[in-house]
Symmetry: D2
Subunit: 290 residues, 4 copies
């Protein structure tokens, strides 16, 4: 039963009376067995959001037919509707970008190894080679792409190579697992809604470089981590998940870095999981997590 095939239906559209009835009526008419259903209406923008999970074997047709039929319902509800139908029986493809820090990668690989995160990690790309060995020990290709700091042309070439490596996998998620390069606006645009970053602060505090140093200097009593979709504006994308951990006057920057890792990895993993399960609907610069 945990492996039964499921479809995830998602819809965002202007709110009005009868949307739930229309969708659930459509599903009931087709015999659809709804396993999970969540709704949200944003009263400020008057926007309606839903995510429904249907057992594949309860429907008398395949996913393409469901997509076509539900598409008609969605367009009828509103020409502005933003919707998708995803077959969860198809394994998600993931590419992970790293630098030297391995805690997020170890964490993700552990989840993949145990089957908790049932995805196809197509590649890990690092701007350093430190994490090649652990990656390959899992039978996953590791690509080293150097980003020369003081060489704009070399850097542009590196980003072109990165793009090629990533796009070749047509990933459902591009995970910046403490990747220390700022993506060019063009890549941000092309990877919109698929690139997830972990920032090592409780955003919007401490945007940019060396957030733990900033936190230490300000004397905060909690430090945090934020997973968010990558957008062209640095550390300003829609926030998916956040968490914090307590620190004190006795914690040096190094202590904060160490303690912070433990929340970075879970905040990234939770964000990635929600993304892959189709739980996140982005609206403006905010997320609705259903």
């Amino acid at each position: 039963m945990p492996n039964e095939r499921r479809y995830v239906i998602r819809l965002g559209c202007p709110d009005r009376t009868g949307i739930v009835a229309r969708i659930s009526g459509f599903l009931a008419d087709a015999g659809g067995w709804i396993v999970e259903a969540a709704y949200h209406t944003d009263p400020e923008t008057n926007w309606f959001f839903t995510r429904q999970v249907v057992r594949a074997d309860s429907l008398p047709f395949e996913v393409d037919e469901l997509r076509e039929r539900f598409g008609r319902v969605a367009r009828e509800l509103s020409p502005a509707a933003d919707w998708s139908v995803t077959d969860m029986g198809v394994r998600r493809r993931v590419v992970i970008l790293v630098s030297k820090e391995g805690h997020c990668l170890y964490d993700l690989l552990g989840r993949v190894h145990s089957g908790e995160l049932d995805v196809d990690v197509r590649a890990v790309v690092g701007n350093h080679a430190d994490l090649a060995s652990i990656t390959r020990a899992h039978g996953i290709p590791f690509h080293h792409v150097a980003f020369p700091a003081a060489d704009p042309e070399g850097k542009a070439a590196a980003f072109a190579q990165l793009r090629q490596l990533v796009d070749a996998s047509t990933p459902d998620a591009i995970v910046l697992a403490r990747f220390m390069q700022v993506l060019p606006a063009e890549l941000c645009a092309d990877w919109t809604g698929r690139a997830i970053n972990i920032h090592h602060s409780f955003l919007p505090s401490f945007v940019g470089a060396r957030p733990y140093h900033q936190a230490h200097k300000r004397g905060v009593k909690l430090i945090g981590a934020t997973s968010h979709y990558v957008t062209a504006e640095l550390d300003q994308g829609p926030i998916i998940e956040q968490d914090v951990i307590r620190v004190g006057h006795a914690d040096s920057v190094a202590d904060m870095v160490r303690k912070g890792r433990d929340i970075e990895k879970v905040v990234l993993a939770r964000g990635l999981r929600a993304h892959l399960e189709g739980r996140i609907l982005v609206h403006g610069n905010k997320t609705v997590v259903l």
Copy 2:
């Protein structure tokens, strides 16, 4: 708009295909504007739960008519359906039971005073008189009922008086805000689903008397509080809400008592709020909080 009148519809029944469609279709046909909708299916018991919030002014009939019509839908879905329709425009009535410790009462009165908790506190009953003054300063009647420890007859008479004082208010919630008397089974039965207790431990740890002493003795690193519905079995009722706070070796029992108060009061207030908003559906000995 925050004061617009709303109806809360709740339903629990055996799960099957088409329930959501039936309910949302019913509401859509009547023009009902759904403000909030939440669903849950328990795969173990195959039981379906929903809570829907509808704007009163979107329906062309009054609450009694809604109750009658929805009752027909519910019975049609299942003869075993457990359902209710509540008019949130009618202020909830609350009776609070206390002993000497005032932190929960202060907290609740503060919420009532600010309007955050928009209820009618009909009475506070104390087995000590310590909290009479703060109660009366809010214009709320305070009744002192002594429970003589070593006098079974006197105690039975006290419980009879308590019952009379409480029942006279026909309360929607009976809040045991650190009331230190164990209710007789008969009262538990009569007040089923309406009596909410705060227990000063993270249940099921440290049932019964002096939980902070038990926690201190065991050397735990977190202490907790639990709000739950009162049942005849002490501290075994359906759990509504829980929270914890960190303690350490330097905390004496008195420190734990002090730190624990800060979670007791919020765990009780959150539980009471969820109860009054009709968010809690009890099933077996567990709660579904929608």
Copy 3:
């Protein structure tokens, strides 16, 4: 025993070998029974901090004599030493400043009433009169000082009156319990190290006005509260204590305001308690909480 009289000795000075030996030797020679002792050295500034709690009845002299003798030790350790000796047997004096929101005041009064916070609340000053009644119900004087928004002279006069009311109590702590007026630089300076504010955000996020609106707009997944010493630069003073609570896409600004109150009040109360127990040593713009 919980009421045994205690002295709190605090010292901050440049670190060097032998400080602990010098202080503990001084106390041991006098027969001093140390109940609590905490130390911290900041490796960046090479500054040493200690707080020691001594039983008064273990010393053969009174607090003035202890102050004189310990002062000699402190000056000997460093002419730059910053130190104090406080007799905890003398009740601390507190003045509370409020506006309309009562949750922090209710919380503090509840703690005072129960004896948890064993202080002498000399006065509550409000720029609105909403909280006069609950204050006076506790036998505490309430003063209403109006701060006319568009009248600079009237406002200056109000601050002069506020200062007079506060200073007349020679308070050990001036608590800005959601007081909505920005103190003039002069008052900040005069009340340095005694004025504690609760800011309703997780600083340094959302400085200034309407932090919950800012948080809602940014779409954060946690909201916070910060208690800090007041300085001339708005919301930039040394942070004493912080905490957060989880929010989600379904939380409106009003929900955030409501949920936030529950952490504001505990973060303020914890900060005030630490201050009154002499646990906070300020160094630069940071606190060491011993």
Copy 4:
């Protein structure tokens, strides 16, 4: 500087006036530079605890001489004194016991790989072979010891083999990283104060087998994890560290298992770190973490 060599001095003894002066005087006389110092007195048992960290290069003698000299001080303070002097420049030796679940092992190996946990993992022993590959990818020997369930003799032989494998490494810590076998009383005794277990519940709730199933059945709103020293009585040893995570009615047992892993691994890692840094002083069945 982070790699400067340090000695950790620990002492527990009956409390009396002058202990701190005696110890700090002894260190000051030798020129000892105290980097960290923590004290605690348990008022119930009147027991004094301290942990001091001294820079090795500040002392004019080696660790053996320090041990001999401090031993004299300790015995002089009390014949009942329990003390140790540890050279932190000597890498700690660790043996890890596992079954099939790999999240704790992955987590520990990640910390070792990054240098965060600077220990010598001498061996991993598993009663299943699932984690052999990831262990060996780190250059660490993996030993598979099968524990036949229904064969008491075979099981006894397996424990004898386990003991031999572990003892051969003379480990400073034996980490039961979700090892699913209950250690015989004899092993518990021999490994007293060195064997650390992670139990997947918030003890004392849900002792023994399948704690997440127990938690799900009781309907708790938070689940927890506990790291503790192993003693002969199952799940009753001195608690080192605990943490919790929120769950709700929608979480199945499988969801709890998954969410719980994220706290199990950090609670174990924090406990192990505190143990290796000599921060934990056991007294009766409780820990003092300095």
